[in-house]
């Protein structure tokens, strides 16, 4: 009799645990979907859509990207093997807080002769006017080009829903860019993030460890 009761209790417990585990893993899955949506995840390749961006006015910005002239340009024209894009906003507190960290990422790239010509970093200001993007640049001494996307068209094409979002893509050599990284939110450590980008981009074999 006692044994029977114990069996029932054990079966009930098992059932509860199974349900709980199911709920927990389902919860985790849901969060995962929210965090990365149906957009390409780490390591998955997709071609970045071709769109035009207004050319920054600053000479140093243009020479950093290996561009000249005025008017519009395409991301594929930037002289780089790997392009890191930060979609940010002048108005976003998280972007404001992490501005110094993103500057650090730039300095880390520029400080390494083996990668500085290969990896370039730009910012796209989601919903920001040129004035707002420039105010952000001035306030945080941002050393890399910041390009306004006042109408949010580019932000939408890129599939970005929140700022900051980091996208990385590599040049296929024919003017097209293959996206291999899409991450919402910031990164905890600039050095680790750079190492991750180098690894995922396939540049690892060509650069110093």
């Amino acid at each position: 009799m006692k044994k029977h009761k114990l069996q029932i209790a054990a079966s009930l417990l098992l059932l509860v645990i199974t349900l709980l585990c199911g709920a927990a893993s389902q919860g985790a899955d849901t969060i995962k979907t929210v965090g990365s949506s149906d957009k390409p995840l780490l390591g998955k390749i997709k071609l970045l859509p071709a769109f035009e961006l207004p050319m920054p006015q600053g000479k140093s910005d243009k020479s950093y990207m290996g561009l000249s002239g005025t008017g519009d340009f395409k991301l594929g024209q930037i002289k780089a093997r790997v392009l890191i894009i930060e979609v940010f906003s002048f108005y976003c507190p998280h972007c404001q807080r992490s501005a110094a960290q993103v500057n650090e990422l730039y300095e880390k790239i520029e400080g390494r002769p083996d990668i500085k010509e290969k990896i370039k970093l730009i910012g796209i200001g989601a919903g920001n006017s040129l004035y707002e993007v420039n105010s952000f640049k001035e306030r945080y001494h941002v050393p890399f080009p910041l390009i306004p996307d006042q109408g949010m068209e580019i932000t939408e094409i890129l599939g970005v829903r929140g700022t900051p979002t980091f996208i990385a893509a590599k040049a296929d050599g024919k003017g097209l860019l293959e996206q291999f990284y899409f991450g919402e939110g910031g990164f905890p450590d600039a050095g680790q993030f750079l190492a991750q980008i180098i690894k995922l981009s396939g540049l690892e074999g060509e650069v110093k460890k």
């Binding site: 054990a10 709980l20 919860g27 965090g35 108005y91 707002e132």
Partner: protein
Amino acid sequence: MRVKKTKLMFLLLFLGVSAVMAGFTGAYGQSGGFSDFKDYIYPVGKLKPTDSVPILKVGDPAPDFALPAVEGGKITLSQFRGKKNVAISFVPAAWTPVCSDQWPGYNIVKDLFDKNDAILLGITVDNIPTLYAWTKQMVNQNENLWFPVLSDFYPHGAVALKYGVLRSEGVTERAIFVINKLGVIKYIDIHDINQRPPLEDLVKALEAANKQ
């Protein structure tokens, strides 16, 4: 036999609890990586661009008011008379899209206001505790917004009503008023509630008000 079953039960219980904990940790890990307080923003969808009848125009004297500030005490408009130009930024409500980003932008350009001898007053119809929690999320720990945030909560929206920017559902328009040192309204932008007014428009208005 019974001892074994008990052991088995404990093992299962342990495994179950571990799985649940792992699930939670995973969930936290994911959301922690996202842009912190955006997760708390209530999605309002697209709203009627404006929903009030303007009653003030440029050149009118700005109606005076006294409202409680998040930092404590009351702020009156007339206390700045003869001293500062005043920009008033009405935003519809705490924890809503667009608004939640607007003031953090103003917070990093205090110099633009200083340059034009201006103060900024942020006003919503929310109560003080809500405004406290909401504005705390905009800045780093132990920091505050540099400008006063005022609560037009009770009587509900009384100041917004005087300025003709109270919407039918009880929140305010997304509106900016610039008032010069003489207390005269020099600029009014009752903006599409769904969009953020560009910073340069406000800065131009401050410059113009400061020249006169």
